[in-house]
Structures are given as C-alpha cells and as structure tokens.
Amino acid sequence: MSAAVSPIREPLINGSKTYHQITEDILAPTERAPSPPWVVGFIIAVTFLALYVFCLGWTIFYGIGSWDLNRTINWGWDITNFVWWVGIGHAGTLISAILLLFRQKWRTGVNRAAEAMTIFAVVCAGQFPLIHMGRIWMAFFIFPYPNTRGPLWVNFNSPLLWDVFAISTYLTVSLLFWYTGLVPDFATVRDRAKGIRKKIYSLLSFGWTGSAKHWQRWEALSLVLAGLATPLVLSVHTIVSFDFATSVIPGWHTTIFPPYFVAGAIFSGFAMVLTLMLVARKLFKLEDYITLAHIESMNKVILVTGTIVGVAYLTELFVAWYSGYLPEQWAFYNRVFGPYYWSYIGMMSCNVLSPQIFWSRKMRRNIVVTFVLSIFINIGMWFERFVIIATTLARDYLPSSWSYYSPTWVEIGLFAGTIGLFFTLFLIFARVAPVIAVAEVKSILKSAGDQYTGPNAKHDHKHGGIEVRKESDTTGVISGN
C-alpha cells in the first residue's frame, strides 16, 4: 500500500485515539457485564429462536404439508427466505474482500461485524433448502459420496447442485477468512484477560505472538483469500439466480438474472449491515470508529446498487414486451397487475424509490433516515424474492392450474424464527469477540485518524501532519533521538 492520503479525505477514526485507547474502546463490550439493552435484545432473540425450533420440529414431524405450498406454487416463503438470507450474506465478503482489493480504508471499521453477519445469514439461509427437502434426514443425499446404489451420483448439470457447492464453499471460505482475521484480536483479548477467560482466549487465539514473519504471512493470506473470495461472492448469487434462470418458466428464464441478483444481494447485504451497525455503534459506544464517513460510504453503495436493481426491474419489463413472446409478456403483466400486485408495489417503492433520497448528502449522513431506510430495503428485498418466486408460479401455462398462496403460521414462524437465530448468533458474537477489527483499525490510525488527517489534524505533532501521510513511507521515518 503506498497510496498517499489526500488532506481533504475525511478521518475514519475520531477522538484523537492512541493505540491503547483503540484496544480499550473496542474490547470494552467483551470485558464488562452485558448491558441491559443487550440482555433485553438477547431474550427477544432467543424467544424467536425457540419459535424457530418449535416450527422446525412441527415441519419435520408433520411434513411440509403443514405449509401452504401446492402443486402450482411449490416454492413459497421457504425459497424466498433462502434467497433473502443468502443475499444478506453477501455484504460481509464484499466489504472484507472486494474493498480490501480496492484499498478502501473505511472497510476496517465494519468488516469484522459484516463478515460475522455474512456467516450467520448463510447459516439461516442454509436451513430452508434443507427443510424444503421434506425428509431432512436424507439431506446427505445431495453430496456425491460413494454409495451402494450403483453408485448413483448426483446430477452435476443441475443448478440446484451447483447451489449446494456454492453455498457450502461460501460458508467455509467466509468462516476461514473471518477467523483468520479474528486470531490476532483474540490474542489481544487473551493478553488482557485473567483466569478462565485467559484460558479460553488462549485456545481461540491459536498461539498468536505478533511476530513480524507471522504478520507478513497473515497479510499474504488475507490478500489471496480476498482475491479468491471476490469471484466467489459474485458466483454465489449468480448460481442462486441460475436456480431460476435455467428453468423454462416465463419470468424466470432471463439472462439478466445473474447481475441483477448480485446487485440485489449487495444492496440487501449493505442494508442489513447498516441496520446492525447503527445499533451496535450506539450500544457499544463505537461512534468514533463507525463514523458518519462510514455510514455515508455504505449509503452510496446502497444508492448505486438500488438503482442498478431498479434498472434491472425496468429492463425485465422492456425485454418482455420487446420479445414479442406472449407467455413472457403475460408473466410480467401478471407480476405488476396480477393477484400479487401489492408485493410488486412493495418491492418497487422500498427498493427503487426510497433509496433515491440518498442523492442528498444530508440524508446519507442522517442516522435516523439511514436506519429507517435500511429496514425498508430489508423488507423490499424480501418482497423482490417473493415477487419473483410466487407471482411467477401462481399463473403458469394452464389457467386450470392457477392458484394463490398465502403462508401458514408454520411458515411465518420459520421465517421469524430464523431472524431470532440470526440475532442470537450476532449478539453472542458481539459479546465474545471484538466487533471491530482491532489490529486493522490500528494500522490505519496514522493515515485516517482525525489527529493526522482532516480539519482537526495537529500539524505540529511529532509524527503527525503532512510528513506521515504516506502509509508505507519508509524514507522519512524518525530514527530515534
């Protein structure tokens, strides 16, 4: 890294922090008794988790007949939830991998929590295809293992199997990437802890010492993992979109699906990151590390991806009309004006219209507006998947088969329950691990701390001011005195 930092670039760490202060601030939530808001949040999350376990048990015991799926609409809330959660799971790797390759320093404030969110979202997503199989105890059939039935292999030409490989690879690689980043920070916790906590964090920190050679390898590993994760994250939602695009259902069989799904995934992922981080920065007093500059950057990504998604919606309509193919035209007419018109309105207003207020800088930097909008987008993106899945199936080729679908309480419980699962995991994570990458934030302090850059920079500081703005400037260092 040798990018010089412009003096007009906004600082990413406020409060003139020292290295020690950064450690104190970020580790504080892991070292004190849980705060009342955390406890309340955790109780609510675990309640929903219990609901999930109950509905899961109900589904497995009575079968998926307890859902309202029928022969016409055989994918409903289950696959909608799956695609929604996978989409949310895209922001973490995008922030940590793609923004690492692009040398975006603001990622250091949010990458840790975003990666955690990614992993938990993929865990939630993975539940749905598994239960949807009906006989979940047969789920291992999806893996190509030697068996006594021939051996009979899985169909490697099927997008559903590609999905199995994509999601499980994504989960594994995200976990490895996340944990590798966590190891030095666990060592920081270890070296401050006493008693049983020291033992636990010794185990978790893998014996990290901070040796220069280890840091060198750690950086090499992070960079290559980022290089691998970048095409991976794009491939995952591409393959999810293949589940639809390779079928011959009008409304699904379109070539625009992969880029459209990936943009939508980044869009919804960033919305969920904002929802979580706006709460976390308040709850854990991390406003100096997740600054308005971070929020504004994420809102810009939301504006761009939301607009791409909007263009995709309109392109779909145009291409349906332009194709001159009646079933295709009908599918899209039905999507907008059919029995599920309300979900189309929800999708359009939440995903395309509402983010447009982020053209205003004032709105991008308004925390309340950002929070409300992030919730809107989460809802809108759920509607998008519902629109694609349910409306398309509800009106198929044979009018005699047309149907309508609304979820049973079991399906609603499963969806609400995975939100409980997600927040339970996230709240536990926020208590036991530093929610911000401590070492990485320290490494940008000299180039992005407010005492070194921005309007409050102290130019008379010993190492501060103009002289040290170059990150890898090794020529101008002060060699003792």
Binding site: S202, L221, A439, G480
Partner: protein, 179 residues
C-alpha cells in the same frame, strides 16, 4: 552444558512503529542480529529491513487451487463419461459448460482450506498451542525488538542496551522464556 529448556530474551519496547522502523534500520547498520520483532499490527516497510523473504503462501494457494480444479473436473468427467453415463436434456455426456460452476467452487474451496491450513502449520499455530508470551502489551500498543540473549557475553548485552537507548526505546527488559 548450555541451557536447552529456557530461552533468555533481551528486548526493547518502542511506543511507535516509526521509532521501531528507525531502530531496525539502525540495527542493520550496526550489524546486530535481531531475534524477532513483535508488533500489534502489520507494520509496512518492516519486512525488507528484516530481510524477510516474500511469503510463498500464494504459490501454495495456486497449487491447492489447481488440485481442486483437476479433482472436480476429472471426477465429474469420470462420473458422466465412464462410471454412469447419463443424458440430461439431450446434451452430450461430457457437457463441459455445465461443469464450470462446480469446478470453480471446488477450486476456491481447495485453495482456501489449503492455504489456511498451511498458514497455521508454517506458523506453528493452532488451537491449544500457546507459546510463552514475551510481553502482554505487544498485542495492545507496544512494538518490540528482541535479541536472543542465550549464551551472550556481557559485552553483547551492553551493546544491545546502548542500541535501545540510542534508538528511543522506552524500556529494555530481560526475560527468560520457558521452552
């Protein structure tokens, strides 16, 4: 007999990475043999000064990835052309484009797992491994240059002490690490 079970380390503590970088340069000029350098975060520009060769992890990653590519592609080829040929949608048995997504995923999977495992093996790190910690503040805010003081003469130690003093170390500590 030399002490084989314990290791004596003499180290200097710096408060800032720029002081550390300057000190490492000075150590090179003075031909001092640094045992190791410890920092709370990766300090850029340190590796060439310490004479650390570039990590070869990425080469290992490429090899693991190539193994993944071959494993996935050849396995699917074998299944669909030799072991159990089947026609899907009127396509040829050996339908290469349909194999691409899984080949890609397995490549990434092998490269990632292989590299991470290699990383911990070459670092001699892993769950349950806990080498003695030189100084608790290294993972917080201190930068450390350490010399191996085993079997060192008083003259050498004096040299290191004056080196630390001249390069702005805030503390100089001698510590015996259990093996």
């Amino acid at each position: 007999m030399a002490n084989t079970s314990n290791k004596e380390i003499l180290y200097g503590v710096y408060d800032d990475e720029e002081d550390l970088l300057g000190a490492v340069k000075q150590a090179n000029k003075d031909h001092l043999d640094i045992w190791d350098v410890f920092t709370p975060f990766p300090v850029h520009g340190l590796d060439p000064e310490l004479g650390l060769a570039e990590s070869r992890l990425h080469i290992a990653g490429f090899v693991y990835g190539a193994i993944g590519t071959l494993t996935a592609f050849l396995f699917m080829t074998w299944v669909f052309t030799r072991d159990w040929p089947m026609i899907f949608g009127g396509k040829p048995y050996w339908s290469v484009p349909a194999f691409i997504p899984i080949t890609f995923e397995v490549t990434v999977l092998f490269a990632s797992i292989g590299m991470v495992v290699s990383f911990y093996i070459v670092n001699a790190q892993g769950p349950g491994i806990q080498p003695p910690v030189l100084d608790d503040r290294i993972t917080d805010d201190k930068f450390v240059i350490a010399f191996d003081a085993d079997n060192s003469s008083q003259e050498q130690k004096d040299g290191w002490n004056s080196f630390f003093k001249n390069t702005g170390a805030s503390e100089v500590i001698t510590k015996v690490l259990p093996a």
